[in-house]
Amino acid sequence: MNITLKAKLLTVLPKLLALGMRNLEDFLSSFPEAKTRSAVLTLYDENGRMSIYVGFEGDKLAVREVDPENPPYATTYMTMHVDVFIALLKNKIDFRAAYLHDLVDVKSNDGLPPSYHFLLWAAFFDRVAELLK
């Protein structure tokens, strides 16, 4: 377990809770493409990495921590420094700017180009940023 990384995430706990208290299913229903997509989000810092799986299992949204060394299949693998993730949640940086400045890496596992996923994820992060304002 990467303690320093999780401690950093605690600084945005209120944001994460605010997001969690929304009806995520309703939120995601405005993104029909989300139903056919899944992601493993890997956050890292100088001490290590942690990964979170986000995706639909049947009709249910699943969010759980997974082993970064052995992640489950997901249509996209997204990797960023934990400070970038925190800056995104705090609306200090735009997801598109982060990607275009090479601060976010997106890999595709379903044959579609990574930039295709990036464009759709960007719309998703816009909505997340709006919710967290």
Partner: protein, 220 residues
């Protein structure tokens, strides 16, 4: 769908202005798709007044943004925050080219591609992906520097079997007459029609497709 590259060996010669006006001219009789492939410095969306909106999908393809009944648009411009520098490495750049060219549900009779300037790697990637199916308009200004760059670009277009339909010499009357005539003569040796467009300051504020009727005729 016929891809038409609006391209140049040199930057700042008016490619985007010509591409947009040509798109509007062609859209009078056809459906036109418009791809702004200038990933680092996109501006075409400003001419079309395309706003950022939630991007949709059509199957496993992105839906282009609708400009009007006959013109659809896709490019990074509407999706990149204003003032943010685009620091894409080649791998990401090439990936965007593939997405915008092959994973957008284009429905036009023509696909106008506003390219970045120069015989650079992005353009080579574009040319490879188009696999010799494209037509092109080579844009320049009538001065020797643009000529040098465009001769290289012309060679590159020919190398990838692009059908160069015209050379457009933009703002023709803004340059020293003797120089302009000499440069135009050099372009004429390439064996493609040379179309001279006179400077029109109104093009800064509105499209004037009637000025590009000749260009539309040779590419259609």
């Amino acid at each position: 769908m016929i891809p038409i590259l609006i391209t140049s060996g040199k930057g700042g010669v008016g490619k985007s202005t010509i591409a947009v006006n040509l798109a509007v001219a062609l859209a009078k009789h056809s459906r036109v798709s418009f791809l702004d492939a200038d990933l680092m410095d996109p501006v075409a969306h400003l001419f079309f007044n395309v706003n950022k909106e939630k991007l949709g999908e059509y199957g496993k393809m992105l839906k282009p943004l609708q400009v009007n009944e006959n013109i659809e648009f896709m490019g990074l411009g509407p999706f990149v925050p204003r003032g943010v520098g685009v620091a894409l490495n080649y791998e990401k750049t090439a990936d965007f080219v593939v997405t915008l060219l092959k994973f957008v549900h284009w429905t036009g009779d023509y696909l106008i591609v506003d390219t970045p300037p120069g015989s650079i790697d992005v353009n080579v990637k574009l040319l490879k992906e188009l696999e010799g199916r494209a037509r092109a308009v080579l844009v320049g200004e009538p001065h020797p520097f643009a000529l040098e760059d465009n001769l290289r670009m012309f060679d590159l277009l020919r190398l990838y079997d692009v059908d160069v339909r015209a050379v457009v010499l933009n703002k023709y009357d803004m340059f020293v007459k003797e120089v302009a005539e000499r440069v135009a003569g050099e372009y004429e040796k390439l064996g493609v029609p040379v179309i001279k467009i006179l400077f029109d300051k109104e093009l800064q504020v509105r499209v004037k497709p009637e000025l590009f009727k000749d260009v539309a005729e040779v590419v259609a």
